[in-house]
Symmetry: C2
Subunit: 295 residues, 2 copies
């Protein structure tokens, strides 16, 4: 969207995508139309060059190694925006790079059905905000966030600044913890899950555990609102299979270590019991181990 709006954008990715984009441009299926966007693409992290804004979009399993690799390459004044699921990615990046790192919650439904092709199914808006209290006190951060809002607005991507972006990331994590593993283990969509009261009970237990861990972590995530948000998803997307289900079906490693696995680890650190998240995490890991997938 930024390249389409005339900005100088370089995509860094794996060879099949880079080759397809170099050959034919990026094919964008959106709102019933197909557009071709000409954009630079490279497999080389050094292509990060003098970028002023870095959109950090790798899966959570790759956050640490990629952060480590880009640290010596980043321009001194670069802003790194983490467009990832999970609540620990921005902090992980910030441990390795000295530049400002800003977490973003991404609300979008897209797919990449083949190299160089992006299909857009719905939404496409971001929430950004300070990573922590220290970042919130930085006097220049507000200005830099507003510059991101303006940049994206001109490219038709709505961005909202929130003082509680971490709370929104926890809320998204909570929903993913309640749906992804179960949908994956049964290979069934959200509507089938909601139809079985025993499963809804398990999901409520997952949400209660995530909320307890979030609260112990200093987040404001009220249980009632979390349970309502969880219920809404199945009504809104009854036919949806989780990304974890799709990864498991394809024999690809899932992000489960950064969903229920993260909640179990963080709970253990904070002294909060998370038996249901632990169980779901272990079961997905077992399926991945049995299929030769997983880390």
């Amino acid at each position: 969207m930024l390249a389409r709006a005339g900005h100088d954008v370089t995509l860094i990715g794996r060879a099949p995508h880079v080759q397809a984009i170099a050959d034919r441009g990026l094919s964008l299926h959106m709102a019933g139309r197909v557009e071709t966007v000409r954009v630079a693409a490279s497999t080389d992290l050094a292509a990060i060059g003098s970028a002023g804004l870095v959109l950090f979009c790798v899966k959570s399993t790759d956050t640490e190694p990629v952060a480590r690799q880009i640290a010596p390459l980043l321009a001194a004044d670069a802003l790194v925006l983490s467009l990832q699921n999970g609540v620990d990615n921005a902090a992980t990046i910030a441990r390795h790079v000295k530049q400002t790192v800003v977490p973003a919650v991404v609300y979008v439904a897209t797919a990449m059905p083949e190299p160089g092709v992006v299909t857009h199914h719905g939404r496409g808006d971001l929430v950004i905000g300070p990573l922590d209290a220290a970042a919130a006190r930085n006097p220049t951060l507000g200005e830099r966030l507003q510059a991101v809002v303006d940049l994206f607005a001109a490219a038709q991507v709505p961005v909202r600044i929130s003082p509680d972006v971490m709370g929104e990331l926890w809320s998204k994590l909570m929903v993913n913890c309640a749906y992804n593993a179960i949908s994956g283990l049964a290979q069934l969509p959200y509507g089938a899950m909601a139809a079985l009261p025993a499963i809804v009970e398990v999901q409520r237990a997952v949400v209660s555990e995530v909320v307890a861990v979030a609260q112990a972590d200093g987040q404001h995530l009220p249980l009632d609102a979390a349970l309502e948000a969880m219920d809404r998803i199945a009504r809104a997307m009854p036919a949806q299979l989780s990304s974890t289900a799709q990864d498991m079906a394809r024999g690809k490693p899932s992000e489960i270590d950064h969903l229920n696995g993260f909640v179990a680890r963080r709970g253990a650190e904070l002294g909060i019991a998370t038996p249901v998240n632990q169980t779901l995490h272990a079961l997905v890991k077992l399926v991945e181990a049995g299929r030769g997938g997983g880390a």
Copy 2:
């Protein structure tokens, strides 16, 4: 084994088995040999006739309806031996029949690969004993149990009388709760489960919950011994897929309601939290519902 030793035995079962046994006898594959045993067989519960000993061998899901149906047919002095997994079958039968009901723990590995064919893979011994304290006080029970031991001994089936047969059934239930659902959900054998420490942690949580419920139920089931028994199974049978895994793979309803499902229900009655058993039960039910199986 009883028919083979010359006793008057009638098998009651479903039509394909009954027809095969009527046509060709029961084919018994055992210790590297194949024997044909001539034995009566019927699909009609009325064939229970004047039987003095009734071996009650249905799946736990069928216990209640079958007990109800045989109640008016049983001879006044019949002894009903429950050769079933689960800790509530004998009590369920006893609620419907006025004759003496004796629980048995069955240790045997067999399969019925086709109608009229039984293959024996290992063991084949029973533990029997009083259902409860009231039964234990019955002055004639000891004599009747000893008669069962003698009858089976002459047919080369070792039977041991235990004052704590219910504790042994709980122990077997505990092992089944720790292995069956997980093996079923991942479609993997016990050795693959034992290789993943996160899964062993889940199994230990299952065992702890079962032990807590058993103890609240008045059973003597020490946690350390239970955990050791659980660990031993994976070492003894690394290639074993659980019966639940086999049922799930065939799209047949499993006994999960009488394994983790029973522990969850009994725990709720006794005020014991069983989040991991509840989760495993719900996940197996979801898979069964999704495949059109299950009750």
